[in-house]
């Protein structure tokens, strides 16, 4: 428990940590999570102590009546924890779900084992492995899958949403500030599951528009000024478009500097139109008009 608390403190800069929020949704859930972990952790310790005490010193409890045990332990204690928690749950669930007021929509498609993003607002803009987001603007992602079920998860932005063939699920995300955030698939989807990662490239609205325009023209967008190269997670082709290699350690963004590839089996190509046998990585894929 102590070690856990210590790690909890140091845990905040991990690239995929839900405790290191970069947007309001992750921040609100993180708050809820911390409160629950702390309070229910205390309940746990209390229960263990109680059971030990009752087992070792039952006489100390001989005066506690049966009714007290059942009413306090079986009713009062659970309800006093559950009622506030679930009110919080219901309210927060409502806040996290798309409310219809978000103008920007981006289509997300998972396929074995990469993510493709299309931007309906900019005709012809399409990216693969990198999701471009404007900072400070709520965006609704329309998430689906081409083959099997995947799950779209950017822990620092929001909770996950499954990508299910035949279904389109909506997820509201908003990134606070420009930067690079990492994401990954979190539903087991076959051999490449562990490597089905992607990055979220958050830019100021102006830079974002420029990036989409570049994508629409089939060019790789210029790296934004605050761009930090993402860590290489996949093996074969980790190189981001044109990062200067010395910018790696510059900011407190994603840690890790050079590529440290995970060995991976050859990813069977799923015969996609946009990109053929490329592995799930952080590569940008130029659109083909």
């Amino acid at each position: 428990m102590m070690a856990g608390a210590a790690l909890l403190v140091t845990a905040c800069d991990r690239p995929l940590s839900a405790l290191n929020p970069a947007g309001p949704a992750a921040s609100q859930i993180g708050h809820l999570g911390r409160v629950m972990l702390a309070s229910l952790g205390l309940v746990w310790i209390g229960m263990v102590v109680l059971v030990l005490a009752v087992m070792l010193r039952p006489r100390a409890f001989a005066r506690v009546g049966l009714r007290t045990w059942l009413i306090v332990g079986g009713l009062v204690l659970p309800l006093s924890a559950l009622v506030p928690l679930f009110l919080w749950s219901v309210v927060l669930t409502g806040r996290l779900m798309p409310g219809g007021a978000e103008p920007t929509r981006i289509q997300v498609e998972g396929a074995m084992w990469a993510w493709t993003f299309t931007y309906p607002d900019t005709l012809g803009a399409l990216s693969r492995g990198t999701l471009f987001l404007p900072a400070g603007e709520p965006v609704v992602l329309e998430i689906t899958a081409r083959d099997v079920i995947h799950s779209f998860w950017v822990p620092r932005l929001a909770g996950k949403m499954d990508a299910i063939p035949g279904h389109v699920n909506e997820l509201k995300v908003m990134a606070d500030a420009p930067g690079v955030i990492e994401g990954q698939c979190s539903e087991f989807c076959g051999q490449g599951h562990a490597l089905m990662r992607f990055v979220v490239d958050v830019r100021t609205p102006e830079d974002h528009a420029a990036a989409l325009a570049a994508l629409a023209e089939g060019r790789a967008p210029e790296p934004a000024p605050e761009w930090v190269p993402p860590r290489a997670v996949g093996a074969a082709a980790p190189a981001p478009p044109s990062p200067s290699s010395d910018s790696g350690t510059a900011t407190g963004g994603p840690p890790g500097t050079g590529p440290q590839p995970v060995p991976m089996p050859p990813a069977p190509s799923q015969g996609s139109a946009a990109g053929s046998a490329d592995v799930p990585t952080t590569v940008l894929r130029e659109s083909s008009p």
């Binding site: 629950m36 669930t93 035949g166």
Partner: protein, 865 residues
């Protein structure tokens, strides 16, 4: 008239609030029978009757003690294999970028770890424990359907062997123990791996459901006279609810597996979104089973603790009624909250809120049960013991799992931690905490009963600490690993993901745990070899299983007691001696394997059952079933169909010697009572067995009906294109209507058979008159399936569901024909009479059920077309 339990000593230790029942007058024990048998002669006579055979003959045993131990040992082996796989997982994840297992191997390993632990360890283990204990705890000699249980064991063993063989051959399923489709479909998982899961697990599920039916009927009907429902020992309540949950909860997964196998093997698109199916249907069917499964595992473990804690607290369980109510509430709630495993599939807000709040409701009955145990300890005088050490492990670990369960049920938090290692930690706290610590507490409590020897305890204490600390070392920090973003089922991760240290700690913890289990095994072996023997009831327990000799003889009790108080307030020490002396029911061997059957609620003696002798038939049936399943796996469908017919013939054959060849009327059972044997009563065990079988069957049909409606209402790509909708050829609807009418006719005529039997008239013509319309309906059904007049089952889910409904009804009609064949054979052989009419009742029940599902199917078909 009542006997048995004189006031046990040391009961009013706490001096206050002694429960009223304890003051019940201890009536004098029943008189000894005047058959002149000494206890030893009685033992020899009964042992000869109930023999389980020696050496290889034991394969023919249908005895609950033998089967219970066999199931527990087999489940332990699967636990060992599953644990070994867990070690492989922890070795792979111990450091980032480990080159030990590659992604395909890792997928097989984690899939098989989950599958083995859930289907081949957890459920069978608790069923084995229940099978061993229940008849002894409730004062019976055996369980209700010994041959069914033996068949269930063989199905379990052969199904498990199939899966293990696949693992050794590298053909193990690799789509996760949850088998989400489309990943598990023929497109994305070609090859035999997924088929092995679907068929192997269905095979094992047949066994689980069979034992579930068996336990339900045993608990409800096979108690000692006088033991009303309200006097059942608490473990019987726990197992009753568990067994009912198995009967209702497992069939939906069996149906889901059948549908998925039909999609894989024949291209029926139940789950294919491009053709009107929906992958989410699989998730619903899976979790309608999968969520209750958690409570199916928790309840028996809690039941064991609620049995052994009072023994060491020297005080009967407090708040018995509240606990019973909590168990029932838990059983019901557990079926309403399956979708909290699916918070991230894109459910509407209302559904998310409903399932979140409903999930939290289950905390209340859980808390009531736990605090009743705590209150029992607080009100008693605790004696420290090894079982109590493991009980402490249960509390510490399970409570943690319950609390993280609350967190997981809070939907927004779930959006983050779903499918991360947080959930891995949570579910291990729940399942390991309840089942493993519960079963280990139970193991050390009942090991003297199994072996007749006391535990030595030298190894069990370090074993506990290794397991307890190792477990927490593995899983406590894993919550954090999940919060830091590590998803489940990844075979590797990077150095800079920040998960390396935590994973190393988990792996070290895992290996420490394994050492603990090694010590437990060693301890059990040493106890069995070198433990000191004891006379009776070493713990001073107050439940009836301790009234048997230890290790128990095949017949359990030389005489069956009359119970005049709650079943956990007895004095087995005194009772054991009285029963061994024959002071009770059915003490005088009459050449039959007899045991008492009571009225379900009141516990009044109703009749006595004559149980079957040991037989190789279940083994043969199990082998044939295995053969049929292997044939389906290898796509040898005609051979599989042939073996199915052989199997049906074997079951008809098995029914032949059942019952009695002539009427006997009421016979003396002791205590001045005369009762009829079971073939001569209407409210008999087979009728109850059929009721629960039909309940399980209805759950299966309910899953099919749910699927049909679910696809029609929510699946993408509906309505189907016109060409996929067409009923090809005229009169298809008419044919279906006629077939349903014929089934109703058969069900109606079957009543005339019963009437003829009651009046002792010739029954043959009525059996034929039932069979003719039924055969017509069966033929019409299979003709509809084979002729291609229904919409193409491969083109769209509409056709697939229509064909599925027709197939369900046709198969049931065909099984009805097998019932009629058995009726005809048994009538001709003289196994029926006006008094012995159970056969015809069973047939009528089956045909009524078939008619009902046929009518509902017709309605469903009309609704979706």
């Amino acid at each position: 008239m009542s006997s048995a339990s004189s006031e046990p000593p040391a009961r009013h230790a706490s001096g206050r609030r002694a429960t009223v029942e304890e003051a019940i007058d201890a009536a004098p024990p029943m008189p000894a029978p005047d058959d002149g048998l000494s206890p030893l002669e009685r033992h020899k006579a009964l042992e000869a009757l109930w023999s389980s055979g020696r050496g290889l003959q034991r394969l023919s045993s249908v005895n609950h003690t033998v089967l219970g131990i066999r199931i527990m040992l087999t489940a332990s082996v699967f636990f060992g294999v599953g644990g070994l796989l867990a070690m492989l997982i922890r070795a792979q994840l111990a450091t980032p970028e480990t080159a030990f297992l590659d992604a395909p191997a890792y997928a097989q390993v984690f899939t098989m770890h989950g599958t083995l632990m859930m289907f081949l360890f957890a459920i069978p283990m608790l069923e084995g424990i229940a099978m061993y204990l229940l008849p002894k705890m409730m004062g019976g000699r055996d369980h209700a359907f010994p041959r069914l249980a033996a068949y269930g064991y063989w199905c379990y063993l052969f199904g498990g062997v199939t899966l293990l063989t696949a693992l050794v051959l590298g053909l193990a399923p690799a789509s996760g123990w949850f088998m989400y489709t489309p990943l598990s479909s023929d497109v994305y998982s070609p090859g035999i791996n997924s088929d092995i899961w679907l068929l192997g697990i269905t095979f094992v599920e047949i066994s689980s459901i069979a034992v579930g039916i068996e336990l339900s009927v045993t608990i409800l009907r096979m108690r000692a006279p006088g033991m009303s429902l309200a006097r059942m020992p608490i473990f019987a309540w726990y197992m009753l609810i568990t067994a009912l949950m198995i009967v209702v909860g497992f069939p939906p997964l069996a149906m889901g597996s059948l549908l998925l196998e039909a999609e894989r093997a024949f291209g029926l698109p139940f789950f294919d979104p491009t053709r009107g199916g929906d992958p989410l249907l699989w998730q619903h069917l899976f979790w309608i089973f999968g969520h209750p499964e958690v409570y199916i595992i928790f309840l028996p473990a809690a039941g064991m603790l609620a049995t052994l804690i009072p023994t060491f607290a020297r005080r009967p369980l407090v708040a018995y009624k509240a606990v019973v109510a909590a168990i029932i509430a838990m059983g019901i709630i557990s079926f309403l909250i399956w979708a909290h495993h699916m918070f991230t599939v894109g459910m509407p807000k209302l559904a998310v809120d409903f399932f979140a709040v409903a999930s939290s409701a289950v905390v209340l009955p859980t808390a009531v049960q736990l605090f009743a145990l705590i209150a029992t300890m607080a009100a008693g005088r605790m004696i420290r013991s090894v079982p109590m050490l493991y009980a402490f492990g249960f509390f510490a670990v399970f409570v943690n799992g319950g609390l993280t369960g609350v967190m997981v049920a809070v939907a927004p938090f779930n959006f983050q931690i779903h499918d991360t290692h947080f959930v891995v930690a949570h579910m291990h706290y729940v399942l390991f905490g309840s089942l493993v610590f519960g079963a280990l507490a139970g193991l050390y409590y009942w090991l003297p009963h199994l072996t007749g020897r006391l535990s030595i305890h030298r190894l069990s204490i370090p074993a506990f600490w290794l397991i307890f600390l190792g477990f927490n070392g593995t899983f406590l920090l894993m919550h954090l690993t999940g919060l830091l973003g590590m998803p489940r089922r990844v075979y590797s991760y990077g150095w800079d993901d920040g998960w390396a240290a935590l994973n190393l700690v988990s792996s070290v913890g895992g290996f420490i745990q394994t050492m603990g289990f090694g010590l437990v095994i060693l301890d059990v072996i040493l106890t069995r070899r070198h433990g000191p023997r004891f006379r009776r009831n070493p713990w001073g327990a107050q439940t009836m299983e301790w009234a048997t000799a230890t290790p128990p003889p095949n017949y359990n009790f030389a005489a069956l007691p009359h119970v005049d108080r709650r079943g956990d307030k007895l004095d087995p020490t005194t009772l054991g001696g009285q029963l061994a002396a024959g002071r009770g029911y059915l003490a005088t061997p009459r050449g039959w394997q007899e045991t008492m059957v009571v009225e379900a609620v009141s516990g009044r003696a109703d009749h006595f059952a004559i149980l079957p002798r040991r037989t190789y038939l279940p083994l043969i049936q199990g082998l044939v079933t295995w053969g049929a399943i292997l044939c389906i796996l290898l796509k040898l469908y005609p051979l599989a169909a042939g073996l199915t017919v052989v199997l049906a013939a074997l079951f008809i054959l098995g029914a032949q010697g059942a019952g009695l060849e002539r009427d006997h009327g009421p016979l003396p059972v002791g205590g001045g009572l005369a009762l009829p044997p079971h073939p001569e009563v209407r409210n008999s065990l087979p009728v109850w067995g059929m009721t629960f079988t039909l309940l399980a069957n209805a759950a299966m049909y309910g899953a099919l009906g749910f699927g049909v409606l679910y696809l029609r209402l929510t699946a993408p790509n509906w309505p189907p294109p016109p060409e996929a909708m067409a009923l090809r050829g005229p009169g298809v609807a008419l044919a279906a209507l006629v077939a349903v009418g014929l089934i109703f006719a058969a069900a109606a005529v079957s009543r005339l058979t019963i009437r003829a039997n009651d009046r002792d008239e010739a029954k043959g013509r009525w059996i034929v008159a039932t069979a003719l319309p039924l055969a017509g309906a069966t033929l019409l059904g299979f003709w509809l399936l084979a002729s291609g007049h229904l919409p193409d089952p491969r083109a769209h889910a509409l056709g697939a569901t229509l064909n599925g409904l027709v197939a369900y009804v046709a198969v049931h009609a065909a099984v009805g024909l097998a019932f009629l064949a058995s009726n005809a054979l048994r009538s001709a052989g003289g196994w029926t009479s006006p008094r012995r009419g159970t056969d015809f009742l069973l047939t009528r029940m089956w045909l009524d059920y078939t008619a009902a599902t046929a009518a509902i199917s017709l309605g469903l078909a009309a609704l979706v077309v």
